[in-house]
């Protein structure tokens, strides 16, 4: 007898790709309902303004327009969105569904036109006349925090969502005894996730039933259902959210948006289905942004390169509102938890601010907070290495965590790993030393190459307390899997996660197949419909394989136990002697004594009269898995090798290597795909992407001609190598790894560029590194720091100050 090889660890082709690559995916845009109308929004052209009047008469008379709705037309049951946060200093605010009195950011919706087509809806928008009275716009963190600046929300005294300060260990003593102190200010730009599919909402309120069905491009169908029910005054049982195939999430589609509520409200008012498809301009203006943050960091170190203490002052420009349900403490709060990275640094002080500005609200975007945290820590490591004349790898070696579990100064528990071995592996695959030598030779010939490294720990699958301490109103820690065997012996796994590119349909099937001795093809995975799947919290923060993978192992274990009991009777054997393999229940050591699994399934489901006494019918088991506190911690290290063109300022990435450890690798191909996709976004963040506002608060990068997402040409080929340190706290040993690619890449690329710039005495402490900046940096050969030249530039339009070493 041959035992089917374990599916876990195999490069199983992604089953979802068949339909997606053939154009057979079903997206919200593909959904139509008879009688469906189309909506478009009138949006604010001002960053900050009072609304004096809205005249909808011409719009209402435009051919094809069915209704024009403003704040005054929304029924009283519709509530503004309020992201609740119980932290002591947190200031909550209301985000209107349609702005009625004041707009606080460009692109904020002030009216909704419903028409027979998107064309006529936009004609209607053109005909809506809104009289705005512009107010001064507070676009930078500095302006917003200036005590003379007026509050953006009347209910608050200061433009701060949140501010807090904590200290662990004895920071002052460490700085007092340090041989070296490095201090840096880093600026990270605003980014947009740019999912290929922008947001889409199709709402169908059924007046006779009093039910609402919403097809929504969301990563979190059940959370979206809660949000819709809450803000529309409906019972959750009367709301169904269907999130079919989704063309990319990356975090922003975890958030409840005013448009979601407005479209559902319009359907309820009109008694007709209404669809809204965000166009790219709207997507860039009104889908949450990410990343914008300033980090002022300081490290104290000894002569032999041991970092004793770190302080971090982190201020994020959160925009005008807080995202539901995550709230505005996300970006800078999460950054502050991760600054010390993979290093053993017991003394750490943080001062964290979430600043209110007249920009689009920031929300989750792949790698929240950790991108700047990693950039800050790795920049300090490189500065120290340069000062102590150590190899960048060596200084990291001297500081990496060596014994596990290790609890950081902010309470993160790194459960397992071998960071030193991973770094060794990177050094070898990157050919680090050979490239360093080659760079030095080429530098003598006037060619500027550099090499950089970035190590980060990736918190995934946040435990409930990890989220609970953030005092969000909803603490989504666990997730659910329902495993059901059908009469033909095939298995259907219904999960609370959502698959939108991560390959979960394949990963979960691999896990279930191994637990049940089936082929991967015998398992179907369903998700994305609150009427079909068990209650779950969706896909974000690299939680799905940990939470739903482990829940699937638990539920499949229950199913296996039931099948074993039944088969024991049928085979006249002891349950302890049975195992599931090759689609059969087999007597251990006696492989010819077996019974096909389908026979056992039929017994359970169709022959209840033959059930042994004490065995319940049915083959359906639902289990939740609660991740360990405060999560599961993968780790990875990236290295980049670049060359700079002094004439154009181009940064060419010559080589890129990732060594990663996410515990048990279910499907190496999928893990590599996640790494590659993350690195692609990291390349964008390091070199290309930036949401730029002008001085009046106008967002000028509202098309893909100006917001530069890397194409396949800009993303370098990369080599990904694995090390497996399974989590001892998660069945299956999984650790989440969806974000690390995006987290390490900017720090690795900036490190490489700075290495190449070393002869010029200039180092970058910002992203993105535009060719303009690189070229200028290379023309300042060890003379004037570029900083002085540009000190008077407004900082919100340009984060590109350089700092002399």
């Amino acid at each position: 007898m041959t035992i089917t090889p374990r599916a876990t660890g195999a490069r199983v082709l992604r089953r979802e790709d068949g339909r997606l690559l053939r154009g057979g995916g079903r997206f919200v845009s593909d959904a139509t309902v008879p009688g469906m109308l189309h909506a478009a929004f009138v949006r604010s052209p001002h960053a900050h303004a009072l609304i004096r009047s809205i005249d909808t008469n011409h719009a209402a008379a435009t051919p094809g327009v069915v209704a024009v709705l403003t704040a005054a037309d929304l029924d009283p049951g519709v509530e503004p969105i309020r992201a609740r946060n119980g932290s002591p200093n947190y200031q909550e605010c209301d985000m209107p569904i349609l702005a009625g009195e004041k707009v606080r950011t460009i692109g904020e919706a002030v009216a909704l036109v419903v028409a027979t087509s998107r064309y006529t809806a936009e004609d209607g928008c053109d005909a809506v006349a809104v009289a705005f009275e512009p107010l001064p716009a507070l676009m930078s963190i500095e302006e917003a925090l200036d005590p003379t600046s007026p509050p953006i929300h009347d209910s608050m005294e200061r433009n701060l969502f949140n501010e807090f300060h904590t200290t662990a260990g004895d920071v002052d003593a460490a700085f007092a005894t340090a041989d070296h102190v490095v201090e840096l200010e880093l600026r990270q730009q605003r980014c947009s996730a740019i999912a290929m599919e922008a947001r889409v909402v199709l709402a169908n309120y059924h007046p006779a039933e009093g039910t609402l069905t919403v097809w929504l491009s969301t990563q979190v169908p059940h959370l979206a259902r809660t949000g819709l029910a809450l803000h529309l005054g409906l019972a959750e049982t009367r709301v169904r959210v269907i999130a079919p195939d989704i063309g990319g999430g990356f975090g922003p589609k975890c958030v409840l948006y005013p448009e979601d509520i407005a479209i559902a409200a319009a359907s309820r008012i009109l008694g007709r289905p209404v669809k809204w498809t965000s166009d790219r301009v709207e997507d860039i203006q009104a889908t949450v942004h990410g990343r914008e943050q300033i980090a002022r960091v300081k490290a104290a170190a000894t002569n032999d390169g041991r970092v004793l203490a770190v302080t971090a002052e982190l201020s994020a420009s959160n925009g005008a509102y807080g995202p539901w349900p995550y709230t505005a403490s996300l970006e800078s709060g999460q950054a502050s938890e991760n600054v010390t990275g993979p290093y053993e640094i017991a003394n750490y002080e943080r001062h964290v601010r979430a600043v209110i500005t007249n920009k689009t609200m920031m929300g989750p975007y792949r790698g929240v907070g950790r991108v700047i945290a990693t950039l800050a820590m790795e920049r300090m490591m490189d500065e120290l290495a340069a000062r102590l004349e150590l190899d960048p790898l060596e200084i990291r070696r001297r500081n990496l965590v060596r014994t596990f579990p290790y609890t950081t100064a902010t309470g993160l528990r790194f459960e397992s790993g071998d960071y030193l071995a991973l770094l060794d592996r990177l050094e070898e695959v990157m050919e680090w030393q050979a490239l360093r030598a080659e760079n030095a030779e080429l530098r003598a010939q006037g060619r500027y190459r550099g090499i950089g490294v970035a190590f980060a720990v990736e918190q995934s699958a946040y435990g409930p307390l990890a989220l609970g301490t953030r005092k969000m109103a909803i603490t989504p820690g666990y997730d659910t899997s329902a495993v059901r065997m059908e009469p033909d012996g095939r298995v259907r796994v219904a999960v609370g996660l959502h698959n939108h590119g991560q390959g979960h349909e394949t990963t979960v099937a691999q896990i279930a197949a191994d637990e049940l001795g089936l082929r991967v093809d015998d398992v179907d995975v369903v998700f994305g419909d609150t009427a079909i799947v068990p209650y779950g919290l969706g896909t974000w923060a690299s939680r799905s394989t940990v939470c739903c993978g482990a829940a699937t192992i638990l539920a499949a274990g229950d199913l296996r136990a039931r099948l074993t009991l039944l088969a024991a009777e049928m085979l006249e054997a002891s349950p302890d002697d049975l195992l599931l393999a090759d689609g059969a229940v087999v007597i251990r050591g006696s492989p010819s004594h077996r019974i096909p699994i389908a026979d056992v399934a039929r017994r359970a489901l169709h022959e209840p009269h033959l059930l042994p006494e004490g065995v319940d019918p049915g083959l359906e088991f639902t289990r939740q898995f609660m991740p360990p506190e405060p999560g599961s911690f993968a780790n990875s290290v990236h290295a980049a090798h670049v060359e700079l063109d002094p004439e154009t300022g181009r940064v060419e990435i010559l080589k890129y290597v990732v060594a990663e450890d996410c515990g048990t690798v279910v499907n190496p191909m999928i893990v590599e795909g996640q790494v590659q996709g993350g690195v692609a976004q990291g390349v964008g963040g390091a070199l290309l992407e930036a949401l730029v506002y002008d001085d009046d608060g106008t967002l000028v990068t509202t098309s893909l001609m100006d917001y530069l997402v890397p194409t396949s040409v800009e993303v370098p080929p990369m080599q990904v190598v694995h090390q497996e340190s399974p989590s001892q706290f998660v069945p299956g040993g999984f650790k989440g790894m969806g974000e690390g690619g995006a987290v390490n890449a900017p720090a690795a690329i900036v490190g490489a560029v700075n290495d190449a710039l070393a002869p010029f005495g200039v180092a970058a402490n910002h992203t993105p590194l535009k060719p303009e900046w690189v070229r200028r940096a290379m023309r300042n050969r060890a003379s004037h720091p570029y900083q002085a030249e540009h000190a008077d530039q407004p900082q919100h339009t340009d984060h590109e100050k350089g700092f002399a070493r």
Binding site: D123, D126, G649, M705, D706, T711, V713, K770, E772
Partner: protein, 290 residues
């Protein structure tokens, strides 16, 4: 991102198209490959009352060489011109410029005439035609006229064509015997509009430059020829120093418009570097030919 209402006309012959333009004049836009106009319509930045689509007008797509002169029908797709062996062997500068136009998908739809009539100074084709001393044939009910490239490009997105006129043919004279060519540009991503660029043609006489042409991309509101820099090279050996000096002269007085991707100072230096690279490439190719 849907266009406002317009009347769509799809004439089946040139006379019908000219009749429509004569009647609707200023309120009409001519649609060729749609790679610039359709986005402008979708952003509601262009709001013409009439669209005259040349897609079904026969006889406007051809590539011919007669008496050494290249004639390109205005509706010839950029991709067709890009793979033309005739163009590659006699006007390789054009082939090279075309490979830099946006992306393959855009070149499949975009037309040669459309790019010229759109008159974007950061587009490759107008710059290549400036370097090649091309002329443009335009038609209206009032007749045909031929406009040299210098008179054709007026300013950013503006040509000297009247509202009732349509571009029908691009005429490119033969390139001097033995000329080497170079076309260099730099963009932040593959396929984006370049932040700066240059086209060059160089002919050598023994080891000296007999004639040089330099056209600048994204340097001003139209394609520019750097005539003083061209003259500075005549009779010089094609040394790095001579080329660097010509590039320096080429950008004297040039003030490219800055934006978030690169300010004026950056673009100025970039164009100078592109001129240097294009001249070097052209010079090397010219010596290979000889």
């Amino acid at each position: 991102m849907k266009p406002p209402l317009f009347d769509y006309h799809d004439p089946r012959g040139l006379e019908e198209a000219l009749d429509l333009l004569a009647r609707h004049g200023d309120d009409a836009k001519v649609l060729a490959g749609g790679q610039s106009l359709v986005p402008l319509l979708n952003f509601r930045l262009a709001r013409p009352d009439h669209i005259v689509d040349l897609g079904r007008v026969p006889g406007l797509a051809y590539i011919r060489r007669r008496d050494g002169v290249l004639r390109i029908g205005a509706m010839t797709r950029q991709a067709t011109l890009e793979v033309s062996p005739l163009v590659a062997s006699h006007w390789p500068l054009l082939t090279e410029a075309l490979s830099l136009v946006a992306h393959a998908q855009i070149r499949n739809r975009g037309t040669v005439g459309g790019s010229v009539a759109h008159a974007d100074p950061a587009a490759e084709l107008p710059v290549a035609f400036a370097a090649l001393d091309a002329s443009f044939h335009v038609r209206s009910q009032r007749g045909t006229r031929m406009i040299g490239w210098r008179d054709f490009f007026v300013t950013h997105l503006t040509t000297s064509m009247e509202p009732d006129e349509v571009l029908v043919e691009i005429e490119v004279p033969p390139v001097p015997e033995g000329a080497g060519h170079g076309f260099e540009e730099f963009s932040r991503r593959h396929g984006d509009f370049a932040l700066g660029g240059a086209a060059a043609l160089v002919t050598l006489d023994q080891n000296h430059i007999q004639a040089a042409r330099i056209a600048l991309l994204a340097a001003a509101d139209t394609p520019l020829r750097a005539t003083e820099a061209e003259a500075s090279l005549t009779g010089q050996a094609p040394t790095e120093e001579a080329i660097a000096e010509a590039a320096r002269i080429a950008v004297i007085g040039v003030e490219p418009t800055g934006d978030i991707h690169g300010d004026t100072e950056y673009r100025h230096g970039l164009i100078e570097a592109m001129v240097r690279r294009a001249l070097k490439q052209a010079g090397e190719r010219a010596s290979e030919v000889r």
